[in-house]
Structures are given as C-alpha cells and as structure tokens.
Symmetry: C2
C-alpha cells in the first residue's frame, strides 16, 4: 500500500519548514559526555518537548540523576488500536577532534545531498523524522491510527545510565504492543533495512600508575617500571596472532550464528573494496576465518578507544611518565553478558599486569547484545511500509553497534522491538563530519508515516 | 686550599642580590620545545648576555636557525693562563602538567631551603652560579686567573640541533684547555660529585595510521585494524621477559663496565629504599642482573615517553581511533651510536608492524654516550676545589641522562670535559616541582670560584 496521498502531500508541502526545524535541533550541542554541556542537553530536551506539543502530543520533561528524559504521548486511537513506543535520543557524541570537521559540528551544512552535523544521523535526524511522521497524520486527519508514546533520552551516548530504571518504574505507562527505534543504518543507498541483531558493550578504563610524578627518563630510566610500556604489554595480550580475543573465557558464551544466517549475510550486496575505501585504511583486517560483515555483526571485539601517557605535545620531552591510561571496550554478541565480560577482562589484566605499577580498572558502562527472529505483524507491517517508501523490499541486516536499551525494552515491556534506521554506510557517526542523507530523511519520514497505517490495517491471510 | 677570603666575603655580602637575579632569570619561561615561547627564549638570552656584560665580559647573542647562542668572553689572563670553556643552557623543559605544580613553575618560590621553579636546577641555576663565580673574581680582584669563554645555548632540551655546527665553525674562537659544565647532580646532599659517564639518546616518534578518520567502534570494530592496539603490540616487542631490550642488535656495541667500575658503583652510599620512596612507585624494576645504579648509569634503555590515541577525555566515547602515536627514546651507553640505534629501532618496528596500518617513524633527536677516565690536572683541580667548598672529597658517579654536546666538545675542541653538577636526587628536573637546593647554589658558586684559582696554581709533584 503506497503512502496515503494526504500524508505525502503534507510532507512535500512542509519540507522546507521541517528541514529548518531539524537544523535548529542540530544546532544545540547536547553532548552528554561533557559536563560543560549540561545546559545544552536541557535545552535540547525542552526544545524537543515543545515541538511535540506543537503537533498535538502531551509532553513531559522528566528530570533524572543525569540528563532529562522527554516523553510525548497521544492516546486517542482507542483501546482497539495498537500502542507503539517510539524510542530515540537527543544527546550526541563529543565533536572532537574539531579541526577535522569541514564545517562546524553544530552548524548544520548541506553538501552533496548530505546534512553535515554532529547528531545529524545519530540520532537527532532519525528521532525527529518520527515526530514529523506523527505530525503528518495529526495535521491532515486530526488523528492517528495508533496510540503513541515517544521516549527520547539524553544519555544514550554515555550508556543510558538512568533509562532502564525509568522504564522499570514507568513500565505501566510505557506498556505497548511494539517498540520502534530508528538509530541505525540502511545497508546501502536505496536499500531499506531491518535490523536483526545488535552487539552489546562493556566499556572499561585501565589506569596504570608507576612513579608518583613524571620522572626524567635519563636520570631514572631503566630502574623504574614505565607505566606506558606496562600498559602496552597488557594490551598486547588482548589478542592472539589470529586476532581472536585472548582473554580467557571471552568466547565461552558466544552463540554461533546458524549456517543459514551466515548465508543470508553472504548474499548481501557488500562491496569490500568500497568499504575499505570508505574506511581509508591500507587494508581491512580482523579475526581469522570471518568475513568483514561477520566480524562486525556476529563476532565480539576488544578495542582500544583511547590511549594517554606522558608527553604528547610538539617536539621531544624526555619524560618517564608517572601514569598511562587506556579506554577499552568490548563489543559483545549473544549470549555474552557485559558484567561477566568486565569481570573476565579485569581478572585477565590483573593476571598479566607487571610488578612495579598499580593497575586500576573501572567499568564505565555496558549493555547487552540482542538478536530477534523478526516474525509477526509488526515486522510484516514494517516490510510493507519500507517497500512503499523506498520502492524496494527491505533486507535483514546486523549491526555492530550497541543500543543497550533494546534488550531492556523487550525484557521489561514484553513487546517486540523494530529497529529500522535510515543512516548510510560512511555516515561518520561518532567521527568528524557526521552526516545524514537528505533523501533518507525524507523517505524515512514517509516510511514511518506509512508504518502507522500498515499497523492499523487488518490483513487477510494470503 | 680554601676559597680565597675576598671571594668568600664578596659572595656572602652579595647573597641576597645574587638570589634576586637568579629569580629574575627563572621567571622567563624559556621553553625551547614550544614555538609560542620563541620570544621568551630570546628574552632569556638577552637577559643573560646583559648580566655577563655587567660583570665585565664581552658578550654576543648569536642567532641560529632555532634559539640564539649566548657567548661571554674574558681573555685578559694572558697566554700563559689556561683557557676554560664554560657551557650551560638557558632553555628549560615544558612545565606541563601545570596542575601538579605546588607553586607556579615560572614564579620561583623558596620552601624548606629549596628554590622551586622550572629550570631552577636544569640548568639556569647551575649556569648562573658560574656567572656569579666569575663576578666574584672580577669585582674583588679586577682580574681572573684564567681566560674564559661562556657558551650558553637555548636548545639543550630539544637536542641542541644547532650547537655542534656552531662549535665546528667557531672551533678556533672556542679553543680551550678545558670544558667545564654544571648540568648534573651530586650523588647525595653534602657529597660533591664528578661525573664520569653520560648516557646518549635516540628519540623517535612512532605514528600508526589506520582508518582515514576515527570510526564508530561498533559499526566498524573487528573488521578494521585498531592502530592503538597495533601500537601497543609493537611496543610490547621492545623488551623481553627479563626487561632487556629485545630489539635485534641493540646490545651489540655495548661496552661492558669493568668489575672495578662496578665495584666503585656498589661502594657508593646508595639507599635503595629511600630512592624508591622518592620515586613513589610500588617497587623498582628493570633489567635482570643489574643493580638500580647500574641500570641507570651503565645500561641502555628503551622508554615510552608519551602515548596518544583516540578519545582521552572524560567518560566513554566508543571510537575506533584513526591513529596512535608513541614518543620513544633509547638511552645509550658507550659505544652505542644514536643513528645506528635509530636504524635498528626503525627496522624492528617495520618488521613487527601488522598489516592494515601505516607506520611512520621519525627520529627527533639524538646524542652520543660519553665516558671519561678523569685523569689530569683539570680533574685534580676540581677535586681540590670541591673538597674546599663542601668539606668532603668528591665521589665519582655516573649519570643516566644525556648531555650530547659533551662528546662534541671533546671531539671538536680536543679538550677534556669536567662535569661537576650541584643538583640533588629527587630534584624533579623535567617534572613538576623542579627545585635546586639553596645550599648547593651557594656552595657550588664557591666551588667554581675556587676552581679557577686551583687551575692556575702550579702544583708540586707530591
């Protein structure tokens, strides 16, 4: 069923205004990881609530111990209609390193059909297209075929520390028949995609302390353990020569993908050369015996996210550093548990740490991996809506990133989760020059507007 | 022979003024490694030249491709008198990390008999006491028993890139019977020390480049080589399990110390527990089979001076870094050659670097190691002058740090070099809270004033 003509026309007529509103949203530097942006996250939350009120939703900005949660509700479709929880996040990653941005991260700029800005695709653009799909229904028909709760949080990029508790305590209010989330990417331009798996996450910081202060590397070097060297030696034990994670017990709970699931991945139109060119590395590489997509979707990792020790400025400083720090995160696959993995990493690091330094390991945050079989009316409706908006059947894909709350929603609310995203490969989420395709923003809005009609239509068995 | 009474009286009477002048010198942030301090190094050079003119020297501030060289000359002692070249440096290490200083690095502050400031001991304090020793002679007697050339450079902390060339081209003007340098430390409080060896240096920067930009560690992690992990794996190959440097060929040219020299080291009043307490590390550690002093004085090292990759700020950022950087320096002992060692490190790193990243190695600077047998009238005079000033016979010590120009002076000028320093263990050279003992500044000035008289005295064979 194509998108209803009045919805289509409304979205076309209001295209410029909708873009302007999105740009306003993107200009707010709502960086959740940085305390200096605390006022900006509040501003983004209030701005979003105001826009939802504009289109007819009842809203609430709920304070948390961290950044506020925004709720928008419209429940006039009646008891017979399904209730959908739309989840997204209004916070963004830090924009650093700023010098690598071609246009300022918080001044959205369109180049070659792409909206460049921090948060353009992750997740402000994708969250906002949901608000606009609701607006199309409410402004043209005065009603919606579904009951809706929008839940937008401001702490996704720092691991959603307050969300699970909020969902638990508000489980009744958030009760629903389906959860819909757009915070992911399509497999390729023009190819709508439904996500069937997410990796989980365990994020740790390792601090290695040697001497009390930085020492002269000549006057002390050789007689005092160098914490930077010690840290490097610890990190070097994280993988074996086949680039498998060598932390004992790491793979114990990994559920292998079925031959069918691996075959489905291999059938996707994946261009490894193009992927490598986008990445820009001399060559791709990873765990032996796995293809690139399998490495990203089906295999766990142990990555260094940051390193800092000693003198890192211009020129040469002959310092024997007092301390060295690494940020380390493991991406997890079913049925690895984030807390178990943190325990394994901690035990391993403590076992391999050399004498002469003090090693401290802090778990910063974590989230469970997720997999779904994509059976049932929610997924059928999504397939039809995406086919209508993009003129192509959606493919089933995996995702290497983590949306920890997905597992929480399933567990607490008992509702199936639909992950349908409109990002694209190479979109630089979490990197300089993040962008979202303008075309995907427009078609994504239409797909979501169509989805609500599809969910309300009783289908004859065919 | 005790210090001549008129010199002693002059230094006592002028003590407060001399301190004030030193403090003026220390207030100039002449950080040679940082381009933003370019005006400060010029200011320090001109200030020093002006002070030498005040005491009767002819001065010149010689521009170089980097920071200027200051020359001060007094040649009225006649052809029969020895000519001494006094070398020191007016540049200082960067003061970072600033937050660890208990008083501002460029506002000298006296606490518990110590002058705290960046450069207090390395090397402004030690250079300036030479100027004041010359002043004592010239102001009380109107003459000196020696001809003097003071050579103060502004690039010691960045590897003296322009000094060797200057010494070569000015070899005739700098021609001398002895070189005297105070840029080192005494073995213990009250124990004057003459240095018999210095380690050399090869300082390199390793840059590992993976992807073109930082990537999302979820969406790409596992399929793209992580440059931080690659760098850690490279660094982990630098040492074996006995903490010997494992770079092939590294020890090939190491000249072993004689059993006598090792015995002399073992006889020194070294308190390992106190040293460890000063260092503040959980325990000391280094190459198997070597004592702490041997590790620092007689053995080469390969140290990490700095590490930087990815996200190092507050909180968690799930980034797969595009690049990782390490600053690496090897301290060398005779007869290791800095260029040879740079070549060995480069070859080793290229051999162990994994595919999937591009590794670049740049040599930042280097200097030769040095050892002397300390025989001859220069060293005899020094022994007598130090005994007079400190009331104790000097000990012969090694030094783990590097003063690359020492070897250049010997080679180019053909003159013996006397290294007599007045720093103390724990003085925090190159670290926050650098200090110089006030007592050593005062006694050091007297020892050097006495040295010029001792060098001029013809000795009867005893």
């Amino acid at each position: 069923m194509p998108l209803a003509p009045e919805l289509d026309r409304f979205l076309a007529d209001n295209d410029a205004r909708i873009h302007d509103e999105l740009f306003e949203f993107l200009r707010i530097p709502s960086v959740s990881a940085r305390s200096e942006h605390r006022q900006d996250t509040v501003r983004a939350a209030e701005w979003l609530a105001a826009r939802m009120r504009d289109v007819g939703l009842t809203t609430e900005v709920v304070p948390t111990d961290g950044h506020p949660i925004v709720i928008g509700e419209w429940r006039k479709a009646g008891d017979g209609a399904p209730t959908v929880l739309i989840y997204g996040h209004y916070d963004v990653q830090p924009a650093e390193p700023l010098e690598l941005w071609e246009s300022p991260p918080f001044e959205p700029t369109v180049r070659h059909g792409r909206i460049y800005a921090r948060g353009a695709v992750d997740d402000k653009g994708q969250l906002y297209l949901h608000v606009k799909a609701l607006e199309a229904h409410l402004r043209t028909r005065g009603t919606l075929p579904i009951n809706v709760v929008v839940l937008a949080e401001g702490e996704e990029e720092i691991g959603s520390p307050n969300l699970a508790n909020f969902v638990e305590t508000q489980a009744k209010r958030l009760g629903c028949d389906a959860v819909v989330i757009s915070d992911s990417s399509m497999f390729a331009p023009g190819l709508p995609s439904i996500l069937s798996s997410l990796r989980g996450l365990t994020y740790l910081q390792i601090d290695v302390q040697g001497a009390a202060v930085d020492l002269h590397s000549g006057s002390y070097g050789g007689a005092v353990i160098n914490p930077a060297t010690a840290l490097a030696r610890i990190i070097a034990t994280f993988h074996d020569e086949h680039l498998r994670v060598a932390i004992p017990g790491f793979y114990d709970k990994v559920r292998e993908w079925t031959p069918d699931a691996r075959k489905r991945i291999q059938a996707l139109p994946f261009d490894e050369g193009k992927f490598r060119d986008e990445v820009g590395a001399p060559s791709l590489g990873g765990e032996d015996g796995q293809s690139t997509l399998e490495r990203i979707w089906t295999r766990p990792t142990c990555e260094i996210n940051g390193l800092l020790s000693g003198y890192t400025g211009e020129g040469a400083k002959t310092v024997l550093p007092a301390a060295a720090m690494a940020k380390v995160s493991c991406r997890l696959v079913p049925d690895q548990d984030p807390d178990d993995i943190a325990t394994l990493v901690r035990a391993h690091v403590e076992r391999v740490a050399p004498p002469g330094v003090t090693v401290t390991i802090r778990a910063l945050h974590g989230g469970r991996p997720w997999r779904a079989d994509l059976q049932g009316p929610l997924y059928d409706a999504a397939r039809r809506a995406l086919t209508a908006a993009f003129g192509k059947e959606p493919v089933i894909v995996g995702e290497g990133g983590s949306i920890p709350v997905v597992g929480d929603f399933e567990r607490i609310l008992g509702a199936p989760v639909l992950l349908v995203g409109f990002g694209l490969p190479g979109e630089n989420a979490h990197a300089p020059n993040e962008w979202m395709s303008e075309e995907n923003f427009v078609k994504g809005t239409r797909a979501i507007a169509a989805l609500w009609d599809e969910m309300a239509v009783p289908r004859n068995p065919s």
